[in-house]
């Protein structure tokens, strides 16, 4: 039986991992699965308003994503929210450490969330980590 609730933890700032996380989250969300995305560590700065989706590649495939004009991960995350009702929650600790103010984040990103609240949301969900 397909999962009805998925939590996607994104800590990487590299293109391939952000892309895979965004693809999985967006498809799950538009397929009717409840999706919560928790952003932390190196992923967070990419979600500041105006930050480009020009994340560093881990390997050759990351460069191919650009060359072949794959939809960028920020667009896919936004569509996960707009079309599938996904929630994107930035880690409050990561925001604090990076000195990022909440109102500087992209409008499709939700309220800062602590680990305790996230773990509560993830208690009955599949958890995927990127």
């Amino acid at each position: 039986m397909a999962a009805r609730k998925i939590c996607v933890v994104v800590v990487s700032g590299t293109r391939e991992r952000l892309q895979m996380a965004a693809m999985a989250a967006s498809v799950a969300a538009v397929s009717g699965i409840e999706v919560t995305i928790f952003l932390s560590m190196n992923a967070v700065p990419h979600f500041v308003k105006g930050a480009t989706a020009d994340a560093p590649s881990e390997g050759a495939f990351g460069d191919l994503l650009v060359k072949k004009k794959a939809p960028d991960f920020k667009t896919l995350f936004r569509q996960a929210v707009e079309l599938g009702g996904a929630k994107i929650l930035p880690c409050s600790m990561a925001l604090d450490i990076a000195g990022i103010e909440t109102d500087t984040l992209e409008p499709f990103v939700g309220e800062p969330t602590g680990l305790t609240a996230f773990l509560n949301a993830a208690a009955d969900a599949q958890v995927w980590t990127f």
């Binding site: 693809m23 967006s26 498809v27 538009v30 397929s31 939809p71 896919l76 569509q79 079309l83 599938g84």
Partner: protein, 75 residues
């Protein structure tokens, strides 16, 4: 087969055909039919799974000249 809305997803790779289909379906009424034409080889199983998951009905699917045509009835 008659349809109410047409989605040309040719040239789009996963996951865009599914995302575009979802967007199109949200703009339609229950019972209306969406036609999708895709060139993504993964789209056959993707649309089968999408319909199973969402409750929209896959009325038919066909392949011709490396193009895949689907008719979905919005739930």
């Amino acid at each position: 087969m008659n349809f109410d809305k047409d989605l040309d997803a040719r040239g789009l790779n996963c996951p865009l055909p599914i995302l575009r289909a979802k967007k199109a379906l949200t703009e339609m009424q229950s019972g209306q039919v969406l036609r999708i034409v895709s060139t993504d080889v993964g789209s056959v199983k993707d649309f089968q799974a999408f319909c199973k998951q969402t409750g929209n009905e896959l009325l038919s699917q066909a392949e011709a000249s490396n193009e895949y045509t689907f008719f979905l009835k919005r739930k």
